[in-house]
Subunit: 349 residues, 2 copies
């Protein structure tokens, strides 16, 4: 354990002095006979410097063990080495898995995170974003709850690197996610092959259509409808889009009806639905099938094993961090591919 100690009001350098610093930018500049700005250009691969000078600087930096110090970097460039993260909440298990990954990836990249939770309140989201701007974060990872051209314009005016995650604002913004529409369509192919004839679609967020950003949920719903059509199901699904979805289900007969699948747009709804069905003494999948989406990690404790759509939510966090750091450090615009997904065949459908 380090025996490092410091007083609260010490300045950065006093604290940084505790570490093994290697050579500084100033020392490299002196050794190479160039300005500190030129050294910074070389180390960060910015233009405005000859190849020869750059090579010399990088060689000295490497030989003399130059290690970028986050605090020094921060001071030198007007950066705070901080990434703002705006999420809905940490209750949905996939959000806490996501946040865990963002925090770990950020720290590995030398950045720290400022977490803000919107609780899905559009006004609150703007307050969160404004606070992050006040605190001069270098970039923002945003799971947006606002939507539309006005919000798009609002974000552009902030003039700060942003990557959106899970919900899209517009094609202007870099986006980390999966092809939710295709994934849900594939899930419907899977369900239809099992001979289901009647479909109930559970997605409470659909009630917020036109009021908040439900991009991902709309994509999943569109995928469901497309999948049913493609499989020759002509009857429209029963759509349950109320927070009281369990109560809504309670009025539905399953035993004497055609073979029914309850398609839930998130595992968190599917878990509640399964509890409700079990309480009614219905057998899953014999009396009614259930499918979820997200493959949250707690599913492994629940019987029957929920059939669901899996994607690596941790990968979302890693990709979002990699992208925002790229934007901050190089203005990078590497393409972000949609991430992979797969159907997990459980025993609930």
């Amino acid at each position: 354990m380090s025996t490092f100690v410091c007083a609260h009001d010490n300045d950065f350098s006093a604290i940084a002095a505790g570490g093994i610093m290697g050579i500084t930018i100033k020392e490299i500049a002196e050794l190479c006979g160039v300005s500190q700005g030129t050294v910074d250009r070389a180390l960060n691969h910015r233009p405005g410097i000859s190849e020869k000078t750059k090579k010399k600087i990088l060689a000295v930096a490497s030989e003399r063990n130059y290690r970028p110090d986050p605090v020094a970097r921060s001071l030198a460039r007007g950066r705070t080495m901080t990434i703002g993260v705006v999420l809905f909440d940490l209750y949905n298990r996939s959000f806490s898995q996501l946040m865990n990954a963002i925090e770990m990836s950020s720290r590995e990249a030398g950045y720290y995170v400022h977490l803000m939770l919107t609780n899905k309140d559009p006004d609150n989201e703007k307050k969160c974003i404004e606070h992050l701007i006040h605190r001069k974060v270098d970039g923002i990872i945003l799971f947006p709850i606002n939507e539309g051209p006005e919000f798009d314009q609002y974000l552009r005016m902030l003039n700060i690197p942003i990557v959106t995650i899970c919900n899209k604002v517009s094609d202007h913004w870099r986006y980390v996610g999966i092809d939710d529409r295709q994934a849900m369509k594939d899930a419907m192919d899977y369900v239809c092959r099992k001979g289901y004839e009647r479909f109930i679609y559970v997605c409470p967020p659909l009630a917020y259509k036109g009021r908040t950003n439900i991009f991902t949920q709309e994509e999943r719903f569109a995928g469901c409808l497309q999948g049913l059509r493609d499989n020759g199901i002509t009857e429209q699904p029963i759509v349950i889009d109320t927070p009281a979805y369990v109560e809504a289900l309670s009025g539905i007969d399953f035993r004497s009806a055609p073979k029914t699948a309850v398609v839930c747009s998130c595992d968190i709804y599917a878990l509640e639905v399964m509890n409700h069905l079990k309480e009614r003494g219905l057998r899953i999948p014999e009396d009614v099938g259930v499918i979820g989406f997200d493959n949250i990690d707690v599913l492994k404790y629940v019987a029957p094993r929920l059939t669901t759509v899996e994607y690596a939510v941790e990968q979302f966090g890693e990709r979002a961090v990699r992208d925002i750091v790229g934007q901050i450090e190089t203005g990078g615009s590497e393409h972000i591919p949609l991430l992979p997904y797969r159907i997990i065949a459980g025993s609930s459908i």
Copy 2:
């Protein structure tokens, strides 16, 4: 929705101008014919001001709609209106519930949070704390993984408000938690009344004794031993303190043995244990009983319902925020009582 927009490099005042500000400290000072420092003393109930002057200032502030502006407050007092939060990770469900509560309570109090995860790495914890000091957070909510006099001294030298949560460092530090020892003892009373004769105690963190802070886990274990003694159980429990606790269980016979209870120091272990027992075809509780601790929210989806110890982890978050804000704003030292808990009688034991 607000139509507020701002540029990234705007200063605080340009952004704050979007809000309804009411009277400022400067204006109150002018109206009352006192210094801004005196107004600040009155508004924050600090000493060094006569009761008469204070009363006058507070009256003016109230009449003219003085509202403390977080950014202005921050600038005026050298505060950042930010609370640093140091947790292990967000994987344990109770940690994400805790973090959610901390974020919400902080925002209600006008503060924002800087989340740092240590992944239970003592060196990393110091890096996290040092980063928070660099960023000049006003106080730290700490779930400590370091322990001992050296760490205690390290924290004291930081000279910053700190509240510890779940693990204790020393009695010097304010602490939010429950009486884990008594709670586990009560749980043992409950188990013993059910006629169990053999006990297996599952607690992987015990392996880190002497290396990291496992205060809470040690308290729970002490409570278990005490509870067994008080109930006349003379045989020591089998203690499983390895990360491979499921494998360790696999060699234990349950069917032909005395009636056995597997006591798990956290629900997250109990869920894994139940999965293992079910896979072996053992009936819970007929062949073997299981009890957990924490009452994490996912238990409601798992059968049989785990018997466990419940406490309101959200209350931990609220209390910790209330305490750190008190320390920051008034240097407050209101006593923090241990929080309540209760046994949840499930059907697993």
